[in-house]
Symmetry: C2
Subunit: 376 residues, 2 copies
Amino acid sequence: MSESNLQLRSLITAGGELQLSLRQAKTPEPAADEVVIRVLASPINPSDLGLLLGPADMSTAKAGGSSDSPTLTAKIPPELMAGVAPRIDQSMVVGNEGAGVVVKAGADAQKLVGKTVAALGGGMYAQYRVVKAAACLPLPEGTTPAEGASCFVNPLTALSMVETMRRENHTALVHTAAASNLGQMLNKICLKDGVPLVNIVRNAEQAETLRKLGAKYICDSTSPKFMEELTDAVAATGATLAFDAISGGRLANKILIAMEAAINRKLTTYNRYGSPVHKQVYTYGVLDTRPIEIDRTNVGMAWGVGGWLLTYFLEKIGPQATQKLRERIVAELKTTFASHYTAEISLIEALQPEVIQAYNRRATGEKYLINPHKGS
Amino acid sequence: MSESNLQLRSLITAGGELQLSLRQAKTPEPAADEVVIRVLASPINPSDLGLLLGPADMSTAKAGGSSDSPTLTAKIPPELMAGVAPRIDQSMVVGNEGAGVVVKAGADAQKLVGKTVAALGGGMYAQYRVVKAAACLPLPEGTTPAEGASCFVNPLTALSMVETMRRENHTALVHTAAASNLGQMLNKICLKDGVPLVNIVRNAEQAETLRKLGAKYICDSTSPKFMEELTDAVAATGATLAFDAISGGRLANKILIAMEAAINRKLTTYNRYGSPVHKQVYTYGVLDTRPIEIDRTNVGMAWGVGGWLLTYFLEKIGPQATQKLRERIVAELKTTFASHYTAEISLIEALQPEVIQAYNRRATGEKYLINPHKGS
């Protein structure tokens, strides 16, 4: 095994500074039930950005260090320090998921040596990563690490949204930022499973992307008739559950209002508390960091807004139900769950201010892939 | 039975006008399983105001009609008309609950004649009301109609809050506008049942009211150290569920932040999604009609905010569990569930602009009682 094991590290100091750096780490020997993965592909998901950059103000970012060992620093606004108190002065590894080739294995995991596997385990922005063999998902013959790199977070999230819908007795979905990688996957799942899906997008190009995938209900939030179009789509589908990646401003409120109006079209008697049908918006992303505003006028009393996190959901449904979702992902990795990347970058590039600016834009449909061995 | 049966009516016209009036109605003959109640006391709860006044702008209120048959009109802001669409041009009876004496009964309900009973059934702002015998709660000997008038809405609401806490696996509560009639009841229940309760009030006088009742945790939202005091109280009680009567602006958000900070005091490892402990705020009133604002910073992902309505809750727990709650109320009507009134008004007074202004102030701790036979 190579002696070099570059790892990306994120640190927030008590003084309010974000410090990104690369560190040469020793790769530990795998225990009997562990393997060493040579990581070749790890996506930058929105959830990774939360840990990588924290609440830093990236307009204050400064590059430092040397060309082969760069650093990056940025300031954290003082009022946001309370939210990161538990991680202060702890050097964190980053990278939720990734794929690579098993180059070494403990006694009980020898059959994985040489196999291309995907893993969810954190710290994947590194050249080598030791993980439990049980945490590895062996990829089918002919699958590249890049194809398998994103097979946990987005596919499991999209499948879990549909699963949440079923378990909470809804029959159709609304999704925002719907042209994202995740949104495209959700469309493919819903088309396959016959689940009506209302896609909310922010421009005509995104609408076109989804139309090409076969999406039936697409509402552009910049349309002057957005509320009317959304209400019509919600009425046609019967959607009473939404997953919202944007989560700032009034969009969640508009979705609740459209749902309530759609339900009231069918009611014949007046209920002063609005319809008794429960309407739910789960926020799972923060594309818009403004506060969520909920004006209860025209929403009724049967509503909820809340955070939704994949790991909490999987914990709730348990390991067996989770395993079923994983099996479906592997079976449909090159179709339903295919990911597309804007660019492949190295660990050194991941610390360059202009590259950070690109992957931190969180633009719908854009996604970056880190290859820790690129250029080495 | 008296030939007169004055009823209060609320109508919203398609033209955007609220019209309150009194109407002489015929009292129908009771069916075999029904009784006629001579209504002597019916409270004006916040929930009644919603139906009575709708979203009308009461600064535009105008009195009309004659002194013994007054009317009142007010304008509805056009943007709020969509929310009342289903009730347009329907003359509505008002008054959720009340108490009185049974003056006539159907064949199967003769044993109730002469009894003082409470009833939940709507339309109680009337001199006589026909209801199902099963909907009547006979009051213990020596209980006046005024004492029994509020024995459904507030007592059932307060008990159901504690019941919601138990069913959703929380162990302590936060309550806002905590010096209200309802809040005082909730304190009595929590003290009796050993449930830790954090009371949020808006001034020193309200704090004093609760202190006299024996409340242990009282936080004044106007204190410069409010967030610190709230976090300490939440940490001491372990509260992760709040019932919010105010529901506008940032209070719900502050409660979630205090809960998250209290939980994080005990956590030793950093979780970038905040603590995994679910924090819930249910809004059940609208003392502040501004939008609810939720800034997710320092809240984590395990949170929910939603509407909470007594009738939806009782439907969920079913008639047997509801009956148990009722039995407890009757048993503790003069202690735990005693209500206090600011004034007793007649139906005619209920339509006078200056009286409406008084009962529509929704001031904490103030409550008005309508006696449909006052002065008659």
